[in-house]
Symmetry: C2
DNA sequence: TTATATTTGACAATATTTGACAAGCCAAAT
DNA sequence: ATTTGGCTTGTCAAATATTGTCAAATATAA
C-alpha cells in the first residue's frame, strides 16, 4: 500500500462508505478504486481531486500524497542513489523558484 | 537542458568527441544523443552506463543525475506541493531502510 | 561556397497504461 | 449448506506514451 491509498481507505472506512459508492461518484469500476487504494494502480490527478471532494478531504493533502507516491515509484528502483538524486532535484526546484 | 545532458555535453566536448562517435559506441542514431544531451529525450539506464564508460566518467555520478532528472520531471508539474511530497517520499525511503 | 556537425520534426514500431469485465475469494447472514 | 455483499484478482482491448530512425533543416568552420 502506498501513501495515497492508505489515506483514501482510512477516510472511506471512517465514513462507512463502500468502494462501490466511491466508484459510482467517479464513474469508474469498483475494481479500479480497489486497486487505487491498494496501490496497484495510480489515480489520475482528476481522480484524486474527485476523491478528495467526495470524502471531504483536503485536496492539496491528497495531491501531495499522490505526488509523493509518484516520486517514490521513480526512486524505488535506485535506492542507493535516491537520496543524493533527491537533493539535486530539490536544488533544481529552488533554482527555478528564483527565475 | 537537464542535469544529465549538461554533464554529458561537458564531458564530450572536453574530450573533443563528436555526437557521431558517442552514437556509434551506443549503436544508436546521432540524433538520439543530441536529444539526450539537450534533455529532449530520456536516456535508458543502460545508455547512461555506456556513456559513462565511453566518456570515462563516474557511472554512479551520471546515474544520480539521470535519476534526479526523472524526479524533476515528476515534480515539475506540481511545483507548489513538490517540496512537501519530496519530504514524504524521503521519509518513505528511510522507513524502508529499516525493514 | 563546401564540408562537416548538430538539430529538428515527422513517423512507425514498441511499450506502457488505462479502465472494464468476469470470475474468484471470504465472511456474515439466512 | 447456500446465498448475499463487499472486495480482489486476472485478463483484455483500446488509448496513450515512448522509442529510435530518417530525412531535411540549420548551424559551424574552413
Amino acid at each position: 500500500m502506498n501513501n495515497l491509498g492508505r489515506k483514501i481507505r482510512e477516510l472511506r472506512e471512517k465514513q462507512n462508505l463502500l468502494l462501490r459508492q466511491v466508484a459510482a461518484r467517479l464513474e469508474v469500476d469498483t475494481a479500479l478504486i480497489s486497486k487505487i487504494e491498494r496501490g496497484e494502480r495510480n489515480a489520475s490527478k482528476q481522480q484524486v481531486i474527485d476523491i478528495a471532494n467526495f470524502l471531504k478531504a483536503n485536496e492539496e493533502e491528497l495531491l501531495t500524497l499522490w505526488l509523493a507516491d509518484k516520486i517514490k515509484s521513480v526512486i524505488v528502483e535506485e535506492p542507493a542513489i535516491a537520496y543524493q538524486a533527491m537533493k539535486i532535484a530539490n536544488k533544481n526546484l529552488k533554482n527555478e523558484e528564483r527565475h
